[in-house]
């Protein structure tokens, strides 16, 4: 018997926002009938705000509860805020899920991500850009059709460390088990990389050069795609002063661009203590 929270039970007993939206602005799907759970989410978006959300779920109690609470979490919220919702937020909102059921919250996150992927405006940062630059769309678990990217995301968002945890969150490795060593490799790569990066202590001059090169070669390129640009103004310890230009300057999402794209990229590549300031 699973230990479900009162909130989970309330949501599978009385699911909110069940059904379809006619002429939705975005639709997302995650999971499949063969795999034992599927979620379809429908969104109505007006002026960058999610005005309505409905869902249809084939799945267990925690899958229905995750879907139901997700719709409550996003209705009335601006799209850029909704984009920041992770599986952890869904599980937390439910008061927690049993470890073996975390994949239900991941399904909610994936359906939402799928819906928003199909809904983009010019001045919005695409979450895909924040992902690891290498393509990781290779299917690792063929039983449940889980890609390397999905596993990578689950590690990153939830700090997962073991194959068992990956299985609980993504189902990968949960059937025939043949991919368990591949999953272990992905975990090793992820943490090895993180360790390697931490190990290299840069001199102040090296740090400045590295930040400059990343801004010029990586970040600036990405922003130019959306009609904006960025220049490095000054570096003071871990404070990186930048100027946003073009379409980015004055864009209502510029704060998001700075924080979740520029800062995340620099933190991952150079130093987790970096703070990006717009001047």
């Amino acid at each position: 018997m699973w230990e479900y929270t009162e909130k989970v039970m309330d949501h599978y007993r009385n699911p909110r926002n069940v059904g379809k939206i006619d002429n939705p602005d975005a639709v997302g799907i995650a999971g499949s009938l063969a795999c034992g759970d599927q979620l379809k989410i429908y969104l109505k978006i007006e002026n960058g705000i999610v005005t309505d959300a409905k869902f249809q779920t084939f799945g267990c109690g925690s899958a229905v509860a995750s879907s139901s609470i997700l719709t409550e979490m996003i209705i009335g919220k601006p799209v850029e805020e909704v984009k920041k919702i992770t599986n952890k937020d869904i599980a937390d909102e439910l008061g927690g899920l049993p470890p073996e059921k975390m994949h239900c919250s991941v399904m909610g996150y994936e359906a939402l991500e799928d819906a928003l992927k199909n809904y983009k405006t010019d001045d919005m940062v695409d979450l895909d850009d924040l992902r690891e630059p290498e393509t990781r769309d290779k299917v690792v678990c063929t039983c449940f059709n889980v890609t390397e990217n999905q596993i990578w995301d689950a590690i990153k968002l939830n700090g997962l460390k073991t194959v068992e945890e990956i299985t609980n969150y993504t189902k990968a490795g949960g059937a025939c088990g043949k991919c368990k060593s591949l999953i272990q490799d992905i975990i090793n790569t992820y943490y090895h990389k993180e360790k390697e990066e931490k190990k290299v202590e840069l001199t102040p001059a090296q740090k400045i050069l590295k930040i400059n090169s990343i801004i010029e070669n990586q970040i600036s390129d990405e922003l130019r795609k959306d009609g904006g640009d960025i220049t490095l103004v000054d570096i003071d310890g871990n404070n990186v002063m930048v100027k946003l230009r073009g379409k980015c300057s004055g864009c209502k999402n510029s704060h998001l661009t700075l924080k979740s794209f520029v800062e995340t990229t620099l933190r991952e590549a150079v130093d987790p203590a970096i703070v990006v300031i717009e001047v």
């Binding site: 699911p15 069940v18 009938l33 379809k40 267990c60 229905v64 949960g174 059937a175």
Partner: protein, 398 residues
């Protein structure tokens, strides 16, 4: 909980009041070790002998020496399989079915990793065993065949007597173990007529308590013990005998034999009523076993496009206990290996529910479940993303 409707008797059963009564004196009054030499131990020693006689009768075994008491069905299976293989180390081929209980299946997979060559016999869509494949698989190197008497998930009965004949005609030296855990108390067990070498049961599936089982080993079959130590069970199962529970097992076997007729008529009638009403009233229900011969208490019904755990949770809210072959409840992420081996379509496999009745099940309870089932299914189909498919199914049924 106000009301409890327990329809999960293949998982475990309620201990019969009469069984409990018979056990009680052996906790506080007659607590002696049956191996002891004083007068006080006589009652315990007699009780043990008496229980052994009752299990011998329950199996229609020739001799009381053919009965070993164990702690559970899994121990009976492990003892039988490992015991036989240890005595026949030169033979490296073993056979079982794809739909065995994990107590046998996982052990076979372990043995396979240790170097045994294994044939897993498949089943058809009704869950019936492929006897041709079995016949082709037995060879001169086959040490052991393990086949269950009745399947725990579907209730399908396997033709043990016929299987025994097939095995012995191909290789008279091949030993045959039968996991009869789900048959005990539901259909007659006659080891002589069935022609089996070893057969295991578990007490808690027929109103004895958990923690006691038995293994029949015919006098022509030599096995090594699993648990080594004292001389108990003629050296085949060391450890001081669990007298109160063994007494309970004996009593439960006696009661089960007396109750067989009721099981095969009245329990069957209630099962059939529940089954036919659900199939009639719920448009997306399918009987997973088709026309297969089954034990009288079990039905396994697949509800298409809805998920089993969610059905169980809603049943549980009404005090109804059943179980599911769905991935979400099996502890693993895959649906039941039994339903997969049968090729149950993936539209229904995740929504498969097993109801298993007992002598305590009442007509009122069955009527109540029959009454609430359609509304639960309706609520859950409304949640399903497969509305078009469900609509098609509905039209097909009308």
């Amino acid at each position: 909980m106000e009301k409890l409707i327990y329809l999960d008797n293949n998982a475990t059963t309620r201990v019969d009041e009469k069984v409990l009564e018979t056990m009680l004196p052996y906790f506080k009054e007659e607590y002696a070790n049956p191996s002891s030499m004083y007068e006080f131990a006589k009652s315990a020693s007699h009780a043990l002998k008496d229980a052994r006689g009752k299990i011998k009768d329950f199996f229609n075994a020739v001799n009381e020496k053919e009965i070993i008491f164990t702690s559970c069905g899994s121990e009976s299976a492990n003892q039988a399989i490992r015991g036989v293989l240890n005595m026949n180390k030169n033979k490296r081929h073993i056979i079982t079915s794809k739909v065995e209980h994990p107590a046998v299946l996982n052990l076979y997979q372990t043995l396979e990793k240790q170097g045994y060559s294994v044939d897993y016999i498949g089943v058809n869509s009704n869950g019936e065993l492929d006897l041709e494949q079995l016949s082709e698989s037995v060879n001169s190197d086959t040490a052991l065949v393990s086949i269950m008497y009745a399947n725990n998930e579907t209730g399908v009965i396997y033709p043990i007597q016929k299987i025994s004949e097939i095995i012995k005609s191909k290789n008279p030296n091949t030993k045959f173990f039968v996991d009869a855990v789900q048959a005990a108390g539901k259909i007659p067990i006659d080891v002589q007529e069935l022609g089996v070498d070893l057969l295991g049961i578990s007490g808690h599936k027929f109103h004895a308590p958990k923690g006691v089982g038995a293994l029949y080993v015919n006098s022509k079959t030599v096995i090594t013990p699993l648990i080594i130590g004292g001389h108990q069970e003629r050296g085949l199962r060391a450890g001081t005998e669990n007298v109160p529970y063994i007494v309970g097992l004996g009593k439960a076997a006696e009661l089960a034999a007396d109750n067989l007729k009721y099981e095969m008529t009245e329990v069957k009638r209630l099962r059939d009523k529940l089954e036919s009403n659900i199939l009639k009233n719920v448009f997306n229900a399918r009987l997973n076993t088709g026309v297969a011969n089954r034990v009288p208490n079990t039905t396994n019904i697949g509800f298409e496009y809805i998920e089993g755990e969610l059905i169980l949770l809603h049943l549980s809210d009404l005090g109804i206990c059943a179980s599911s072959g769905s991935a979400c409840t099996s502890g693993s992420l895959e649906p039941s290996h039994v339903l997969r081996a049968m090729g149950v379509p993936f539209t229904a496999i995740h929504g498969s529910i097993r109801f298993s009745l007992s002598k305590y099940t009442t007509e009122k309870e069955i009527d109540y479940v029959t009454e609430v089932m359609p509304s639960i299914v309706e609520k859950l189909t409304n949640l399903s993303p497969f509305q078009n498919e469900l609509e098609q199914l509905k039209n097909l049924k009308q």
